[in-house]
Symmetry: D3
Amino acid sequence: MRGLFIGRFQPLHLGHVAIMETALSEVDELVVGIGSAESSYTPTDPFSAGERMEMLLGCAMEYGWGGRLIPVPVRDVNRYSIWVDHVVSLVPKFDRVFSNNPLTSSLFRNAGFEVCSTKMVDRKHFSGTAIRDHMRTGGEWRRYVPRSTAELIEHHRWIERMTDIWDGDQ
Amino acid sequence: MRGLFIGRFQPLHLGHVAIMETALSEVDELVVGIGSAESSYTPTDPFSAGERMEMLLGCAMEYGWGGRLIPVPVRDVNRYSIWVDHVVSLVPKFDRVFSNNPLTSSLFRNAGFEVCSTKMVDRKHFSGTAIRDHMRTGGEWRRYVPRSTAELIEHHRWIERMTDIWDGDQ
Amino acid sequence: MRGLFIGRFQPLHLGHVAIMETALSEVDELVVGIGSAESSYTPTDPFSAGERMEMLLGCAMEYGWGGRLIPVPVRDVNRYSIWVDHVVSLVPKFDRVFSNNPLTSSLFRNAGFEVCSTKMVDRKHFSGTAIRDHMRTGGEWRRYVPRSTAELIEHHRWIERMTDIWDGDQ
Amino acid sequence: MRGLFIGRFQPLHLGHVAIMETALSEVDELVVGIGSAESSYTPTDPFSAGERMEMLLGCAMEYGWGGRLIPVPVRDVNRYSIWVDHVVSLVPKFDRVFSNNPLTSSLFRNAGFEVCSTKMVDRKHFSGTAIRDHMRTGGEWRRYVPRSTAELIEHHRWIERMTDIWDGDQ
Amino acid sequence: MRGLFIGRFQPLHLGHVAIMETALSEVDELVVGIGSAESSYTPTDPFSAGERMEMLLGCAMEYGWGGRLIPVPVRDVNRYSIWVDHVVSLVPKFDRVFSNNPLTSSLFRNAGFEVCSTKMVDRKHFSGTAIRDHMRTGGEWRRYVPRSTAELIEHHRWIERMTDIWDGDQ
Amino acid sequence: MRGLFIGRFQPLHLGHVAIMETALSEVDELVVGIGSAESSYTPTDPFSAGERMEMLLGCAMEYGWGGRLIPVPVRDVNRYSIWVDHVVSLVPKFDRVFSNNPLTSSLFRNAGFEVCSTKMVDRKHFSGTAIRDHMRTGGEWRRYVPRSTAELIEHHRWIERMTDIWDGDQ
């Protein structure tokens, strides 16, 4: 049995990990849609789809999910009326959708899919926006992301790139 | 070490398998770009990216490549001048490109990548065009594709869909 | 003689009706461009072009405008320099433009069209933004839209959908 | 009850009229999707969506279909996997699809719609390609199109424009 | 007084030079639109817009047209109905159009521009298609292009790139 | 030796002139990329690429830069990961990039280009935003732009157009 979970992963954080862990206790494989796949180098989307895929592959290794996680870049189409068909055409067949977004849930449910509404624990801290803020201000972003993700960010010096983006955005 | 191999996989066939096998003898993981990802339901591109991803996942299972194959849909941009950057932004970092297309080889080589030119054995038989022709005319397509791919095609009755496409295309 | 009037109709309201009524007193037929046609399921554009076309067809019935109203979806191109040609290529020939937007008026006037600047009465109440706010807060939205539109909204439970959109947007 | 029929109408011809006549004997209103809406001034698509809408409005008048025909421009998206949702989002709700294209029939049927496969009588003569050929060679194109369409073509001197297109295309 | 001339310049050849020479005898400055600007690395469009701009700048130098030639890349929009406005929005104001394409002439003339129909001498030899064929087959392409263009092609080894494209296209 | 400088030039102002003057003291020719080329008639992008090209050509004349300034429209692609290749494919070859934007600098530097970080003097006054504000409020915008630009703006009555845009935007 296969599940689907979609996120932007800017960056991958422990809130996502908790949802994926729950999902993997219910399905054999989890397709992970990397949303806004073609955005990168912007204040809200600093990482490319390929970089976010590296975060997910590293995380699967770290948490022992081996080949059970299937990450797939999904670009935005900015037309919700075709969103479900767009996703369906890009990823392998799935049986159940895990989502904490009411609109996504509703669109997939209307299209006939089984949807499990997931709750993200402590949204205030485990949010991409909050974590990117910590990154900008030198805060404690490491505690909110998987260890493997922190290592990637440090190894590639992505904080430096983010600083360039913020400065250019002023 | 990671390699990159790009194909259209309409459908996945044993020519692709031979290349991937060679590549996997040289690298630890192989990113497999699924080209023309947003095309489907046409005579030359009958299968969606998601369906082709299922072929690749089934093939990895059949050949015991476990988590070493990383399939990624890559949509066409129809601008070769940005093609390398487009691919690079969508897939995890790779060190070597496997390609039997002179233009692809040349574009990646100019961009500073190491390129291994692969030879496809017996291109006459192991070609998507030839195999789709066998499918249309009731020929022996099964002998040219992995067993797992043949099973997918039969299970989902994809030949029937292809017939609708051919009829609509006349 | 044919006129042209363009709006977003999110939703159709009595301010639009007043303009169309005036226009129909001057022209035989009125082409009604449904702007931002490909937007839907967003907080500012909850309804699809097809749904807005249903509002306009219902309204034409309710007000006895029979076959005199010709609704046509017009997608955004986000390039004002080609906007007039874009509209002209999609709708049947028209002789006069009805518009209360200075930029639209100016673009069509520069392109050689006769433009009637219409005044929307009481813009504060008869505005899509204000009416969508009433919908969100359980306010009196029904008094600002045609009866036929109100019936459509209730019959299809579109307020529920809008709630999903607002929640997903937070 | 509403039906849907999609064509390119380059130009509208008596084969289309026969199908629309059949459809209108079964449904109250017929939504007529004008396919490839954004193409025009090419050898295979000489007429703009707006011009083709005029042909359809003229034809509805000529055949006494009054307000029962609802023409809607539908641009190509070149992705069959999202085609049904694309159409659905642009046109008013419909209950039945009339189509003589196996792929269109199959896509709408898979999406849960009732599909009536229509037969076009004498496809050899009543085809856009054949009629455009008559136009180019000074042949008897008038006998294959509604009288109202022939008048539009002559009134607007569209054959002259087609000659420019053919010459420019050489 | 400014003129406009649009070509694809794949590559720039002496047929173009003759037209530009005529045009420059009538106008002070000539805007040269580089059509299909975003195409490159294909059999029919081997050179990028930037490379074609270099050919034009070199040619202006060679022929002593100094600052009188103003090359501007113009990407295809594939919608002739908006073509004139698209071009107009991208280039400096011009008073006269030089064109040997009947459709282009007709579109600009309908939009109110003065159009000079130019004749290309000896279209059989002075055509991009013919010259690219000479390049592929080792023929005498040099005699049909300006000396400065031949030098660019040789200096950048563009024939080698074209060979890669042709091989990859088989 | 050729340099590259990219700006939006909404409108061209003396801050840009200072940078171009510095650049032209170091290189023979300066390619000037006109960013967001396809935007116009909006509050932040009132002028079309063609109009901004006229400003640059007028300025080159005014400052005696003759044929040394090469303006090229560059449309946004909204994907920074392909930005460098996009620009490179559209403009003639250049050796050095002049930029005061940290992200642009970083992207070109990573792609192997030599980048000169320029400082804009007095950014508070010499900024497009500030100057457009002066234009809206009847302030002293003339003192911040080249004389030739001021003349263009007055000759074409562009302030009037900007007023239409602002009114339509409310």
